[in-house]
Structures are given as C-alpha cells and as structure tokens.
C-alpha cells in the first residue's frame, strides 16, 4: 500500500508543480516573530495601496535567514526579518548559495522587559541582580563558579523582597531569549571583574558561563505565546515575566515593568538606549529579486516612510521604538538605493 499511495501522491504533486513556480506577484517575507507584528502592519498598509498584500511567515530569525539564503530563485523569500544582525556565517552561506547583494535595513528597537502584575510592588533591579537570579552558575564569595544557590530575590540582593525567584520567559528557540541572555545576563555577568576578564582569555567559556540560564525551575519556559505569560503574571503576583515591550504597552493596566539599573522601560528610555535591555531589529532585502517580483521597492519605501516607522507612525502604535532621526534618514536613503551590505565582522 505504501508504494501505491506514495507513488500516486507524488505523481499528482509532480503534475501540479510546473505551473505555479514560474511567476509570483506577491512578495514573500519570512523571519523573526518579533518583527512579525511590524512587518505585517506594513504589509497590510502596502496592500491597500494597489499591490497584492505580501505574505509574511513567522519562522523565527534563524529559520527565516536559512530560507532566505537557500538560493536566489523566485521560489525563495524576498525579504527576511531579523531580531538580530545577520551573522558572518549566515552571510557566507548566502553567498555560497548564490544570494549576492543583500540590503540591510535597521528599522528600530525593541525593549525586553521584566514585568510583574500590577498588584505587586515594582522591582528595581540591576543587571547584576538579573544575572545572579537567573544564571546557571554564579561566582561565590571566593570567586569560584558554583551552581546558582539563590532561591529568593532577597538572596540575590538584600534590598529586594523575600519572595521566591519565579521567572516566566521564552524558550531557547526564541530570538527574545537570545537577546535577553546576551544583553541582560551577559551585562550582569560582566559586572564581575573575574568573569569580564574571561572574555579576553577564553571567549567561548565566557559566553557559556555568562549566557547560560538556570534549569532548576526558577526560570520557567513559558512558550512563545507572550499573551499567555501576561495571563500567568496576573494570576501569580510573585512571578516575573520576560517579553517584548509591545506586550507591556498593550497590557499597561494589568502589568508594570521592573526598573533595570534604575531606568523604567518606556518608549523614551528605550529609544535613548538608557534602558539597558534593548536590541535593534532589521530586515534584509534580496536585491536580485527587485524588479523580478513586483512591489519590493515600494514595500521598502512604505516601511521606511515616517508615517510607518517614525516616532508618530503606525508602527510606534504597535510598539516599535523608532530610530533617532539622523539614523532613520540615513537608513532610509540606504534602503532606497538598495546598497548591498558588506560582510559582517562576526
């Protein structure tokens, strides 16, 4: 039966392949789930202007770039969204597959917040506190690395309340988790001089120590659904949630964000980069497809117009933190000219 059915199915599919692969009149966008809400908002507005609405897939940054770099034929995506910059290794993979000429467009910032239910007293954390609360191994009094012994926030810092450490955050597959580990944990890690020096002597070990999240139940992987984390926070005032700024903004009556290094997460502090846990968001355009697939230039223009990505634009309403004016101008000019990017340093 296997042979018959599979053979028949394959025959059917083979017969239908040839026709649709030839031409495509919708833009294909793949990539980060963090950029997804912004990208879709632009796509929808772009679709109102007479073009077909682009198809936006939420595959995660890594998966999206892999698809984007898989070749330059029309069956590959035209644009990849990313919640981090393209890596050198990915750039090489792209080149190897014949994808030459990629335009990098930096679109703005996203803050990662540590939020709690409104019914709890607000936290005032430092990056060091976050590291001590959530890292897998922490240095003890003598400076030796030991498995994280801290059970309550008070163990971390006597100024904090005596409640159990309970942090709900994204799983390892998420770009938000990568950014959180890199910005918050590693930032706190570097406040220990011994660990900071490690970076020069053994970069790999430094990364392993500084970005490892504890696995003894204090950090709870709550899945990719940030709405779920918000609901859990409301039900449990002692828990802390980790997610993108836009969810804090939309649920301002239920949760509030913890101050980090004395700065509360809000639009201005993230835009000015005084709030320490924020990252840049990007999208990448395959220059070879411009002209082949209708509308790519216009889509990029829609995205980089001030009515979209400006501080007053509709993406700001969705939670995107705009770039400073000068950066926005140069980035938009760069995007318009489709200047291919150079190979990233690492």
């Amino acid at each position: 039966m296997h042979k018959t059915s599979l053979g028949a199915v394959l025959a059917v599919s083979a017969a239908t392949v040839c026709a649709p692969a030839l031409a495509r009149d919708t833009i294909n966008i793949v990539g980060s789930s963090t950029v997804f809400p912004f990208s879709t908002a632009v796509a929808e507005n772009f679709g109102r202007g007479g073009f077909k609405t682009p198809k936006v897939e939420s595959t995660g940054t890594g998966g999206g770039i892999k698809l984007f770099c898989s070749g330059s034929g029309v069956d590959t995506p035209d644009i990849a969204n990313a919640s981090r910059a393209l890596k050198a290794s990915e750039f090489d993979a792209c080149e190897a597959n014949g994808v030459k000429g990629i335009t990098e467009v930096k679109i703005g910032f996203d803050g990662i917040v540590l939020a709690q239910s409104k019914s709890s007293k607000g936290f005032d954390l430092t990056l060091k506190d976050i590291f001590l609360a959530l890292a897998k191994d922490v240095p003890n009094d003598k400076g030796d690395l030991v498995p994280n012994p801290n059970k309550t926030w008070k163990d971390v810092n006597p100024a904090l309340p005596d409640t159990k450490i309970e942090v709900l955050g994204p799983p390892p597959t998420s770009g938000t988790r990568d950014a959180f580990a890199e910005l918050a944990l590693e930032g706190g890690c570097n406040s220990f001089p011994a660990l900071k020096d490690l970076k020069k002597s053994d970069e790999k070990k430094h990364k392993a120590v500084c970005q490892a999240v504890r696995e003894d139940g204090a950090y709870i992987e709550a899945g990719e659904n940030d709405n779920l984390i918000v609901q859990k926070l409301v039900a449990n005032p002692k828990a802390v949630g980790v997610f993108g700024y836009s969810f804090l903004e939309q649920n301002a009556e239920k949760i509030h964000g913890a101050k980090v290094n004395g700065v509360a997460p809000d639009y201005d502090s993230i835009a000015k980069a005084t709030y320490p846990i924020s990252r840049a968001l990007y999208f990448y355009v395959k220059n070879a497809h411009v002209g082949t697939i209708p509308g790519i230039k216009e889509y990029v223009a829609e995205f980089t117009a001030d009515k979209a990505w400006g501080p007053e634009g509709y993406l700001a309403d969705k939670g995107l933190i705009a770039l400073p004016d000068a950066d926005r101008k140069s980035s938009a000019a760069n995007a318009k000219a489709l200047t291919p990017m150079a190979k990233p340093a690492h």
Binding site: M1, T4, V9, L10, V12, P37, T53, E57, S58, N225
Partner: protein, 434 residues
C-alpha cells in the same frame, strides 16, 4: 441457636450468596456511581470550556460603529471631475475621514487632540468610503451619514473590556478620548452592530478589521484536496488489503505500519512534506495544495483502518452469494461489498477530515503559518487555515484579538460539531445490522 454438642449445620450455597448479596449490590452501585461521575466530570469540563470560549468570544460577533456625517469633497476625491474609477480608487480618503471628524468636533484644534480624534475611527474607515464612492459615484459632492468602523481600543471600551475606572496612565485610551466618545454616545452616534466584516474580511493587524474569510476559504480548499487525495487512495488500499491481498508476512508488516502511521505525531508529516513535496518536488510553499498533500498523508491511515473495519463487517454470505450467481471478484466487491460498507467508510472519512480540519502543527513546517490578507482564490494561492488563524491571533498583542480568537474557535468548533454530527447521522441512517 447452636450448642457446642450439636454438629454445625451444613452451610448452603444460598446462604453464602445471601451473605454476600448486600456487598455485591453495594459494589455495583459504587461502580455505576463512579461511571456516572466520570461522565459528569467530563461533561462539566466540556461545559466550562464552551462557556469560557463563548463568554469571551460572543462579543466579537458585534462591532462598534460611529456615525459620522461625511462630506464627499469633490476637491479631494475627484478634482478632475472625470468620475474615472481609477482616479476614484487612488484618492486620499483618509483626508476625507479626517475632515469629517474635524467637522463633527469643531472645538478640537490642538494637534495632539486631533490625533486622538482621528484615532477614534479605524484605519479601515477610508476603505469604507472608497468602496462607497466606487459603487455609487453619485455620493461625491454630497454629505452622507456613514457608520464608520470604530478603532479597536474604542470597540474594547464600548464593549466594557477596558475599565474606564482605572487611572488614565494604566489605560490604552485617554480621558480626553473618552470624553469625545461620551459626547458621541450622547448624540446617539455610537452603535454596536452585527459584525459582518468578521465573516467577509481576510485577516488584519487591526482587530476591528480582522475576519476569518481568508482562513475559511483556505480551509475549504485544503480539505477538498485532502479528501480527493486520501479518500480514493485509502478506500482502494483498504479494499486490496482486506479482500484481495494474500495473508503473508509482507501484508502483516504493512498492517503494522499502517496502524503505526495512524499514531505518528502530526508534526512528523509536516517535516516529511517539507522534505519531499517542497524541497524535492518544488510544490509552492504555503498553498492549500501542499497543505492537502501533507494532511492527506496524515488522514490516509485513519481512512484505511476505518474502511477495513467496515469491509470486515460485511458478512461473507454476501460475497459468497454474489460469487455464486457468477459475479467476478471485482464485481462482487464493487457491486455488493463496497456499497454495503460505504456508511462505515464515510464515517471514518468524516472523522479523519475533522481531524485534518483541526490540525495546525504539520502546517508550521510548510509555511502555512503566515500572515495572508488576501482571501485565496484557488489551490495554489497562499493560504492559511482556521486553526492557524486562531494560533496567530492568540499570539497578537492587541487586546481586540482576545475576543476574535475565541470567536474563531467558536466557528471552528461549530464546523467540527457539524462534521461529527454528519458522521453520526450517516451511521444511524444507513448502517445495517446483520
């Protein structure tokens, strides 16, 4: 009363039975009670689930509208006066909406206040005016009272999902906006109406504009193809295995494999689909075609198993009688056995399709978890399906999507109930007992 001198009377069987009777009845009652309690508990959970989803979702079937006297200004819409549909389509209707809102509140002049005023109506309002002007060019130059779609946050406030008693900083909607809304409400310019857009629109990033038409169309195309792929193959395979194939080690192996396949997690079929259909055969991603190929493979074992059971329940006397009057084995099967087994086969197929209808995990791998606004028009247009739409909405930060998610779940549950009901009815109506 016995005394020690008398020999004990022999215990009769009926005494033993009588002695244990009470205990046995009690045990019976306990078991019945536990069975009933299990059913009741199950029903309770189902009721809670339904009640929760219904309570959260029913409000999505209504949508808040704001009545605005719109002056279709010919200077903005059709400066050339040509009434050319192309020019009418490209006109700046946002400016018309803004001007109409300003006219409604002449006292609002400050820039930030104006922004709030414009934000009361949805980003879809210009589309409403555009389609009006295109359909009836006569409205240009006149003033019409138009019910414009209210913005998502306004909709949430009117429906009571946003608490106006909270401090202003904690609310998505500002005090000054609420003041404007209260003035509109006092004039009778705010109304909740049946949300037809929910059934006719594709998805959107604005909850007030988002609808399930795209997902429904995608589901329809996908399921039609799934049925076309899996039903003939499944019934054919079952017929061969059950009636024609020799019983040997190979057919045993195949049987074990089919039973295994029925229990394989659906995501595995997605991976297979990605590797074989998309990467090897180049079937376009995100289309109902590739979705149906994957779901068809997934449904195949279910249909084969159900069909074999149905064929098995047809008594051998039917076959023998047919063969006896000179029918060929093929005629026996197609004229007599298969029609009698059909109700059972259909039931299996419907249940398999219902499973395919609710599936989203395998579609993740083949690119159907995507934001697709345009309603698909065919089997090779990009599309999503209902469960995927629910997943995407559940993940959206905007508050309005909470009720939309539940409403979409209600629609999906409705279809599932209908399909299962059809399966039960088919069985009731056509099944024959031998």
């Amino acid at each position: 009363m016995r005394t020690a001198t008398q020999p004990p009377a022999p215990r009769r069987t009926i005494d033993i039975v009588n002695a244990s009777l009470k205990r046995r009845y009690a045990r019976e009652r306990r078991f019945r009670f536990m069975g009933a309690a299990a059913v009741a508990l199950g029903l309770l959970f189902v009721a809670i689930l339904f009640a929760d989803i219904t309570l959260k979702g029913y409000t999505a079937f209504q949508q808040t509208y704001i009545e605005v006297p719109v002056y279709f200004d010919p200077a903005t819409i059709d400066p050339a006066g040509s009434r050319d549909p192309q020019a009418l389509a490209a006109a700046d209707y946002l400016a018309v909406v803004k001007a109409s809102m300003r006219r409604l509140f002449p006292d609002v002049t400050e820039r930030s206040q104006l922004r709030e005023l414009y934000a009361l109506v949805s980003a879809g309002a210009p589309q409403q005016l555009q389609s009006m002007a295109l359909r009836h060019p006569g409205v240009i130059g006149t003033t019409r009272d138009v019910w414009l779609i209210a913005a998502g946050d306004v909709d949430m406030l009117v429906k009571g999902h946003l608490d106006r008693a909270l401090p202003e900083a904690d609310r998505r909607i500002k005090d000054s906006s609420i003041l404007l809304l209260d003035r509109l409400a006092a004039d009778g310019r705010i109304e909740k109406r049946f949300n037809t857009g929910f059934f006719t629109n594709g998805t959107s990033r604005e909850p007030e504009l988002a609808g399930i038409a795209g997902a429904l169309a995608g589901t329809f195309y996908t399921l039609v193809l799934t049925l076309l792929f899996s039903f003939p193959l499944g019934v054919g395979a079952a017929l061969y295995l059950q009636e024609f194939a020799p019983k040997n080690r190979w057919t045993d192996l195949i049987e074990v494999n089919i039973n295994n396949l029925a229990a394989v997690p659906s995501i595995v079929f997605g991976l297979l689909g990605l590797a074989v259909f998309i990467n090897f055969f180049g079937v376009p991603r995100s289309t109902p075609l590739v979705g149906a190929l994957v779901l068809g493979l997934m449904t195949l074992p279910v249909i084969i198993i159900a069909s074999r059971a149905a064929l098995q329940s047809v008594p051998p006397s039917i076959r023998e009688a047919a063969l006896g009057v000179g029918a060929s084995p093929l005629q026996t099967q197609f004229h007599h056995v298969l029609p009698l087994a059909m109700p059972g086969i259909m039931t299996g197929a419907i249940i398999g399709m219902a499973r395919a209808l609710g599936e989203s995990a395998p579609l993740l791998m083949i690119g159907m978890i995507a934001f697709i606004v345009d309603v698909p028009q065919g089997f090779t247009d990009s599309a999503t399906v209902l469960p995927v739409q629910i997943y995407l909405w559940a993940d959206s930060p905007e508050r309005g999507f909470v009720e939309r998610t539940s409403a979409a779940i209600l629609v999906l549950l409705g279809f599932l109930v209908l399909m299962n009901l059809a399966a039960v009815l088919l069985r009731r109506r056509f099944e024959r007992r031998w």
